[in-house]
Amino acid sequence: MSLKRTLPTSVLSGFALSGAFILTVLQLLLQNVPKDIDRAGDALLSLNANEGVANAVTTVVVYFRGFDTLGEIAVLFIAALGIGLMLGENERCVIKAQSNFMLHTGAKLLFPIITLYGVYVMSYGHLSPGGGFQGGVIIASGVLLLLISHRDFEVPHSFIVWLETFAGVAYVLIGLIGLLTLDIFLGNFLPHDVSQMGLLLSGGIIPIIYIIVGIKVGSEMSAIVQSLIKRGDNV
């Protein structure tokens, strides 16, 4: 089966024309490459020391690109909202198969450890690899473990709503305080001295924002997982 038989000639010529257009634009772009484009990362990394945060990635994600992180959280919120709207009205499915004794006890034993690890990743995000997004998803995976092993377990909906609202409002409020005091949205208004670098309480607002991000991501992912489990057919 040749390509010519399945696709009309107008589509093929359209592909060819757009390919030629893209190649022309790429040619124009490659002829005028800015000089310092390969050293943009070095400039950001040299600015990192001003904030007193040991993990440079956290500085970039939370401080230099803090507004983008706010947008990412809004995207996650919209995804959770869509899943909740589509699946929220279904009743909780009745799992007929009783879960194994080993699974039951093991899940109970593992859940505190998983939650503790998630909180550690969240609150040490400015010192070691990790941060709010990862820690939140780790906590949500612990909730998922409890959801599939315990028949009656359910995170109260009002609790999720409260946590999510608190985290979103706190993020915007911190940004507005920075705007009022330093004339920068999400400005670092708490003390952030370079000599404190590496301590748990360092970096001003950056660890606080990452913990807020972790609370929001954890509650949203838990809500998503719970509404997927609650699909109304009996398994």
Partner: protein, 79 residues
């Protein structure tokens, strides 16, 4: 030695990605997809990006595959 590991991981990722789109059973596809995520974790860690490696391990290989498996169970596909 590290170059050999990187090369082996690359080849493994490509083979698993190709196998996951050609599998007949959807459950096998999802497991192979988890394998692709795991290989990426190794590569990210070798290339000095532990933050991205942690994210990929938690989201790519962990919770998204579980969500796929839950969706597959609800689809009642013949897997």
């Amino acid at each position: 030695m590290i170059g050999f590991t990187i090369l082996l991981t690359f080849i493994g990722i490509i083979i698993m990605a190709f196998a996951s789109i050609t599998q007949k059973k959807l459950a096998d596809s999802i497991v192979l997809f988890m394998g692709v995520g795991l290989g990426s974790v190794v590569l990210f860690f070798i290339f000095n990006a532990p933050d991205v490696a942690l994210t990929e391990a938690v989201i790519g290989a962990g919770i998204s595959s579980l969500i796929f498996l839950m969706a597959l169970k609800h689809l009642k596909a013949k897997a």
